[in-house]
């Protein structure tokens, strides 16, 4: 599976070539500390993440502790520690190749599908370990919903798409399936659009509808956490708007972890934002603070577009 990994990183690199970190040294605003993150990264030194105080009072659904990850020889995550607060939307931002998607995919162990991945560190969901010899990956994934970058409905009817996670559990009760289907589609704001063609192929929907179908599929399994991996990057602005509204609606009842490239989106939809850079978690705090008054100069550079 080596080639898979190579392809993955190649794709990412081709899409967004990474600017050299120290290429520009912008003017430092007066209120920010000189944290020296660039320097630390350059010298491969560990440094502490700037975690805002607001996060300390939150109860976390997913807890990540000192998490490292390697693709073969190449290290992609360095000592990441963070919690994902309950019933809140947490956004992961950062330049391409910073490891935010990698981190997201570690939560439901999608990285297991890539042969050469090696990890170190702790990760728990509701205090249950995610990694470990006794963990049943399949049961774990059932507790976590995931929506991908490109809409990926299955080649089957809309109905079957939504109840897929129930089908694989062997549920045959038709009334229950229909109930879950309707509830999930309503939850994903798709019910009114598709209720008359539930038995047509899910591939016949538009891109935005397909993505909402995928969200319906993710919430049908009643997950504890929903992972969104750049869910709007393949959609037009109107479809994006709908998904963002949907994320707002889901926020109260689900814990959401979202990766996004789009900083406006992060500021619009999330309660907390984590800024990552070259595999390190740099700053993590309430979205408002991160975008308006970050603690670190590097974060400010990124969110204001001076770098990244």
């Amino acid at each position: 599976m080596n080639d898979d990994r190579a392809r993955l990183s190649e794709e990412e690199q081709q899409e967004h070539p990474i600017a050299p970190a120290s290429a520009q040294e912008p003017d430092t605003p007066a209120h920010l500390e000189q944290s020296g993150v660039y320097q630390a990264v350059k010298e491969d030194r560990a440094f502490d993440t700037a975690v805002h105080d607001e996060l300390r009072s939150e109860s976390n659904v997913v807890q990540i502790d000192d998490f490292d990850l390697w693709y073969g020889e190449k290290q992609a995550l360095y000592g990441v520690s963070m919690g994902v607060p309950r019933s809140k939307v947490t956004a992961l931002i950062g330049p391409s190749g910073c490891g935010k998607s990698t981190l997201l995919r570690c939560v439901n162990r999608m990285n297991d599908l890539i042969g050469s991945v090696r990890i170190d560190g702790e990760m728990t969901i509701e205090s249950d370990p995610i990694y470990g010899p006794v963990v049943d990956v399949i049961e774990l994934r059932k507790r976590i919903g995931m929506v991908f970058q490109k809409p990926n409905p299955f080649p089957m009817s809309i109905f079957e798409n939504v109840v897929y996670s129930l089908r694989i559990d062997g549920v045959r009760n038709k009334a229950l399936l229909e109930e879950v289907c309707e509830k999930s589609l309503r939850g994903a704001g798709l019910w009114d659009e598709v209720k008359d063609r539930l038995h047509e192929s899910g591939l016949g929907l538009s891109g935005g509808q397909q993505q909402r179908l995928c969200i319906a599929r993710a919430i049908a399994g009643e997950p504890e956490v929903i992972l969104l991996d750049e869910p709007c990057s393949a959609l037009d602005p109107i479809a994006t708007q709908k998904i963002e509204d949907l994320i707002h609606e889901l926020a109260g009842s689900y814990t959401i972890l979202i990766v996004t490239h789009n900083m406006q989106q992060a500021s619009r939809v999330s309660d907390y934002t984590a800024f990552m850079y070259l595999g390190r978690l740099v700053e993590y705090g309430p979205t408002q603070s991160i975008f308006v008054k970050p603690q670190l100069r590097e974060t400010e550079d990124y969110v204001t577009g001076r770098f990244g």
């Binding site: 599976m1 399949i138 049961e139 192929s201």
Partner: protein, 584 residues
């Protein structure tokens, strides 16, 4: 391309360097010749395929069209009558001319031929009447013809035995008494009685195959039981004596049962034997022919278009639905059609699941590496092994090892009498051999189809908590199904047209019993079967009368092509339906 005229003469220093000459005018740079080369290659391929199909289709569809009967009288006074079968041009030598025409005319005729360039045309007449002339065909050169007519009452009879008869109806006899004479009256009688006689003949055949066959089968079963006792206890044991008694009683009972059936058959036969039509050949010989032996008769030179059309379709009907007669040179090919279709479907049933499972492991489960690459290369290379090698393998492994093993375990009695059941070529072994032959096609196509399933779909499934097998079964396989079916279609086309291995593992010149019939267990995988491809070879190259059977080669080929096309169309239709379901 210098631009001196456009440059201000005062600014020589800024004058741009002369441009590199562009190959704009080069024909190759524009790609024009490639259009012609690629197009030409396509046209060449198409021309060859269309040409091949045209030969098969024209000859195949024309083969059964009734042609006029010609009566030719030679200068020697010999009279021949028949259908023109073939024509060609040749350069006769003086000796050849001398052989064909009377002594006194040789010089003048040879001179006339020389005057016209030395060439002469000749035709091959299909004269039939094999029992009288010991030959079916005569070459007649144009220069030896004295008279050439198409007589109104020239009649063609297609018979159950001895092939075709060309002659004139002379008289019709019932019980040896002449009831009609003269062509018109005789033919009237023939048409009056013929249908009835054919019905009676069919009834007789049904009795022979049905009740009589059942009785004989029961007899054989009884004999086998006795044989089992003999093998178990010995010929001089008490048990054998007891069994012999039982056997004798059984045989007596069966013989009693047999008697009325045999009588009925004999009666039908006797009734049919009363009707005889005397035919007079072109050279005046009278030949009595039993009417029940005649399959079809008509006056070719009296037929209008619709009459010919009727004969044409009646011949196709016979060809498709009847059993072959006369060492396959007459009659139909129904058992071959049946055998081909059953064998091909059985092959598909074997090869597709096997190939798909193998490809699944290779693509989904196996760790991709050196070993898997080697296996993949080996599989691809299997597709290049000559098919006869598979035949040899099938014979050696399936028939002589697996089949012989089955015989020893379950059919020891038959084996002891020298009748292998599975230890010889048969439908099952032929299907398995061809399944092996087409396996690489299915594996390669399935692997491609599996690889083409988007990674995102698998990830989506895993993210929902599906296991690997659930993902394969619910997402990957449905999505890959059209691709897998493409593999099946290719395998089908390859397998249906394959002949060489079949010669070794079960195709027979004549297989009286179909591999599927009403007798338990309905499918008889041990039986040998007829196959259209093998039939083509047999009729075209193994027949006594290979000139006469040439039209059958074309019609059989046509049929085989049409069957393969029909099977393919069904598969392609199914695939299109699946595509619609999974891709839109």
């Amino acid at each position: 391309m210098t631009t001196t005229t456009q440059v201000d003469p005062g600014s020589h220093a800024k004058r741009p360097a002369p441009k590199r000459p562009r190959a704009r005018s080069s024909l190759f740079a524009r790609g024009e010749p490639m259009v012609w080369i690629t197009g030409g290659a396509l046209i060449l391929c198409l021309a060859m395929i269309v040409g091949l199909l045209a030969i098969v289709f024209i000859n195949g569809f024309a083969a059964f069209w009734p042609v006029p009967i010609e009566r030719v009288t030679t200068l020697h006074g010999k009279t021949l009558m028949g259908e023109v079968h073939d024509k060609d041009t040749y350069v006769p030598t003086r000796a050849q001319v001398a052989e064909l025409v009377p002594q006194e005319k040789v010089e003048t005729i040879f001179a006339a031929i020389q005057e016209e360039g030395g060439e002469s045309t000749r035709r091959s007449l299909r004269t039939g009447n094999f029992e009288l002339t010991q030959t079916n065909f005569h070459w007649v050169s144009d220069f030896e013809v004295a008279e050439d007519t198409q007589p109104e009452w020239a009649t063609l009879l297609e018979r159950l035995t001895w092939g075709r008869f060309y002659g004139f109806p002379k008289e019709f006899r019932i019980d040896g008494k002449v009831v009609a004479s003269g062509p018109a009256e005789t033919w009237e009688q023939f048409e009056k009685w013929h249908g009835e006689l054919i019905d009676r003949y069919d009834e007789r055949e049904d009795l022979k195959k049905g009740p009589l066959g059942d009785v004989d089968k029961a007899k054989r079963a009884a004999a086998k039981e006795l044989r089992v006792v003999e093998l178990d206890h010995g010929r001089f044991s008490e048990q054998y004596a007891a069994a012999t008694k039982v056997f004798d009683a059984q045989v007596a009972a069966l013989d009693k049962e047999r008697e009325p059936i045999s009588e009925k058959i004999a009666a039908l036969q006797a009734e049919n034997d009363r009707y005889v039509m005397v035919m007079r050949t072109a050279d005046g010989v009278d030949q009595p022919i039993r009417v029940a032996d005649i399959v079809r008769g008509y006056q070719a030179n009296q037929q209008g278009f619709f009459g010919k059309l009727g004969i044409y379709f009646s011949r196709w009907h016979e060809f498709i639905w009847d059993d072959p007669r006369e060492a396959n040179s007459q009659g139909g090919v129904f058992p071959a059609i049946f055998g081909t279709v059953v064998m091909t479907l059985l092959m598909i049933i074997f090869v597709v699941p096997f190939g798909v499972l193998a490809a699944l492991y290779l693509r989904e489960y196996a760790k991709q590496g050196m070993l898997v690459s080697i296996v993949r290369i080996a599989v691809n290379n299997l597709a290049g092994v000559p098919s006869i090698v598979y035949g040899v393998f099938g014979l050696g492994f399936f028939c002589y090892i697996v089949g012989a093993g089955i015989d020893e375990l379950f059919f020891a009695v038959d084996l002891a009498d020298g009748n292998p059941t599975f230890g010889k070529g048969g439908l099952l072994w032929a299907s398995l051999t061809l399944a092996l032959l087409t396996l690489p096609v299915v594996i390669v196509a399935t692997e491609e189809a599996l690889a083409a399933v988007p990674r995102s779909m698998r990830e989506g499934s895993y993210a929902c908590g599906a296991s690997k097998w659930q993902t394969i079964r619910r997402i990957v396989l449905p999505r890959a199904l059209p691709g897998i079916m493409t593999g099946g279609i290719l395998a089908l086309a390859r397998g249906a047209g394959e002949v060489a291995p079949l010669m070794l593992v079960g195709a027979a010149k004549i297989a009286p019993e179909l591999p599927i019939d009403g007798e338990f267990p309905f499918l008889h995988p041990q039986r040998s079967f007829m196959h259209l491809g093998f039939h083509i070879y047999d009729v075209g190259f193994q027949s006594q009368d290979s000139v006469g059977t040439r039209p059958l080669v074309f019609t059989t080929t046509l049929l085989l092509i049409l069957i393969v096309v029909a099977l393919n169309i069904v598969a392609i239709w199914a695939r299109a339906r699946l595509r619609k379901r999974f891709y839109t």
